[in-house]
Amino acid sequence: MFLAYHLQVVNLLAALLLLISFAMLSQRRITGLVTLFAWQGAALSLSTAIVAWSTGQHHLYYSAALTFILKVLAMPWYFYRLVKKLNVDRDVEPMINIPTTMLIGIALVIFAFNLALPISQMSGTVTRSTLGIAMASVLLAFLMMITRSKAIPQVIGFLAMENGLFFAATSASYGMPLVVEMGVALDVLVGVFVLGIFFFQIRETFDSLDLKHMEKLKEK
């Protein structure tokens, strides 16, 4: 009963994670997207901490702390600053209209649950039922990357995908070995800073962060 109570909280947070993924799909403003990304990170970090507490897997505490520092504090702060400096926070129209995107999203969720079913049956963790949700949020993030033409939303989509993968790791096998998680976090951090430099280069050259200008390299 004691354990089940915590599990319910984890399931609630998993549901929140999925909801936030959908909210991201429908969000038009970049600052709104960054806020949602920070909330998604918070849900991920909290659920990881709860799993750590209820199962006694201590290394998950580090993973939760790492997620919190990077994905709730550092990266959103950095993105807010970027958006302000580059002055790009306007409403953006996605390439496919939002209701259609949502419908595709629902189909993806069903697909993800089917895909995750055989694996979660094999898993021995208490959190296995959330594996489907993790897969769904990976696919939804992927969808967001496809339907946005601006550089920053694409990157946020990429990071949301990373969130989904971490959640999958937590629910299937209580996370990855610590050294790997640290390495992945380092890569993500470096990646975001490299992109920061990169955004300024794109901006300097194209005078915009719209990737529609970047469709010259094609096979004729």
């Binding site: 094999m122 790997v180 380092l186 890569d187 794109i202």
Partner: protein, 488 residues
């Protein structure tokens, strides 16, 4: 011990050049660090040849066997010759006003870190760290591809980052699944992703999970190998980046990515218990490999940019190697390893020659490059010989490895041979037809006002020629051991 030198030197080089890289002698320092890395790699190779496979450090953080030590030696060697080539080349680019000191500092520092990341990917025993270092290698090169800050180069770098990022995220999921299967057998914790541990218990790993994991790993790392239909980033990144970067991307990074696929394949084959003919992993690799060969060969025909054309040729050759490894067995694996070596050496030599050719013509378009043999004979000969070598004309080594691959295919998978032969024929006709006027045509081009850095080109081609005529017995034995590691 050597392993720490091997990884430490390029890393220290990266930091050193980031801090003091705007000095005038930065290119020499870059070459010096690369030379030290090569010496460390040589020492490591000697030790492995003498003592056989070994694990190093803690619970076995590094694992070195004949398979990866051969790639380590190749990587360190090509990294060194590329550093030699880039010394005069980048200086000329700077004189042409395409680069400044700031960007050269970024270039030298990233170059060293890129080499360090690839060497870590090759030597680590942990499948998770393998993923981390592959991603680090991508990140180190993103800003190198966009070094010229032209619109096209920025677009290429963005495509490279996003496509490889998404690809490598698939590989991360594959790694998670692998850990999920491993943790049941090995228990949780840091050792469950160590390849040597996994290899020991591969027969007990859950086959369905491993199957799924391999699909994700193949798609993920396969994006970086440039396998069709995931190859879109590759021609752009190769064509728009500076030539030394094209040379190391094509000659080294693709190999390292394929190495990651091969390490996964050994595990899956073990878990499914069906090595050889009906290996699911092998069949998938054969399919992707064959598709890449055919797609690339037909796209080569349509290229107008010389670096793009040779980038497609890289896709074709990596496809061929993937196909060979997919077939498995001692001969095919041997041929695949040999072809990997030949392709690295030849393709980087071609890029060196092409780099100087484009510098003298001031364009990368093939119609603008004409009659090199008259104005700059060494560049002309370098390009011609390199092209002849990569097209598989005997007596160059590429012929030997392609011949082995095709005869094995005829023997074991006859259905594939018409595709392979057609594709190789089309590639031959298109590349030769386009390079011939570049070298021998009528020209109005001026002579290069400086001495081109072509020693590395002829060293590489000399090695390829030598290996085509005669493979020293100890090298052959070494390749055979490596092929054996691949389950051949």
């Amino acid at each position: 011990m050597e392993i720490y030198w091997l990884l430490g030197i390029p890393l220290a080089g990266g930091v050193f050049l980031a801090l003091w890289g705007s000095r005038r002698n930065a290119p020499e320092i870059n070459a010096l660090f690369s030379l030290l890395t090569l010496l460390a790699a040589a020492a490591l190779t000697m030790r492995i040849i003498a003592e056989g496979p070994m694990t190093v450090g803690g619970e076995g953080w590094f694992f070195i066997d004949p398979f990866n030590v051969f790639l380590v030696a190749l990587t360190a060697f090509v990294a060194f010759t590329t550093a030699l080539f880039s010394r005069p080349y980048m200086r000329i680019e700077k004189e042409h006003g395409r680069l400044n000191d700031q960007r050269l500092r970024l270039y030298h520092s990233s170059y060293q870190i890129f080499i360090a990341a690839m060497l870590l990917a090759l030597t680590t025993n942990n499948m998770g760290i393998l993923w981390v270092s592959m991603e680090a290698a991508t990140l180190a090169t993103v800003l190198l591809v966009s070094l010229y800050r032209t619109p096209a180069s920025l677009e290429a770098a963005w495509k490279y980052f996003i496509l490889c990022g998404v690809g490598i995220a698939q590989a991360l999921f594959g790694t998670i699944l692998l850990y999920f299967a491993a943790e049941k057998v090995l228990g949780s914790g840091g050792t469950a992703l160590l390849w040597t541990h996994l290899n020991g218990v591969k027969a007990q790993l859950e086959p369905t999970v491993l199957q799924l994991a391999f699909v994700f790993l193949l798609v993920g790392y396969g994006t970086k190998v440039g396998l069709a239909p995931l190859h879109n980033w590759l021609p752009d990144a190769h064509a728009e980046g500076p030539t030394p970067v094209s040379a190391v991307l094509s000659g080294l990074l693709l190999n390292v990515a394929l190495y990651a696929v091969m390490r996964s394949k050994v595990l899956v084959d073990g878990a499914l218990g069906n090595e050889g003919d009906n290996s699911m992993a092998g069949n998938l690799m054969m399919g992707f490999g064959l598709l890449s060969v055919v797609v690339a060969a037909f796209l080569i025909k349509r290229q107008t940019d010389v670096k793009r054309m040779f980038a497609y040729s890289s896709i074709e050759h990596m496809g061929l190697v993937t196909f060979a490894f997919g077939m498995g067995g001692p001969v095919a694996s041997f041929a695949g390893l040999l072809h990997m070596t030949m392709h690295s050496l030849t393709k980087s030599a071609i890029f060196f020659a092409v780099g100087h050719a484009t510098q003298s013509a001031g364009t990368q378009l093939m119609e603008g490059i004409r009659g090199l043999i008259k104005t700059n004979p060494t560049i002309g000969w370098g390009l011609m010989l390199g092209t002849v070598a990569i097209l598989g004309v005997p007596p160059f080594g590429v012929f030997a490895s392609e011949f082995l691959i095709i005869t094995t295919a005829m023997h074991e998978h006859p259905w594939a041979t018409p595709f392979l032969l057609t594709a190789l024929g089309v590639a031959f006709a298109s590349i030769f037809g386009k390079v011939q006027p570049m070298v021998f045509g009528e020209t109005t081009l001026p002579r290069l006002p400086y001495q081109p850095a072509l020693t590395p080109v002829f060293i590489h081609l000399g090695l390829v020629l030598m290996l085509g005529l005669f493979i020293p017995p100890y090298l052959a034995a070494w390749y055979r051991q490596a092929a054996h590691m691949l389950g051949g």
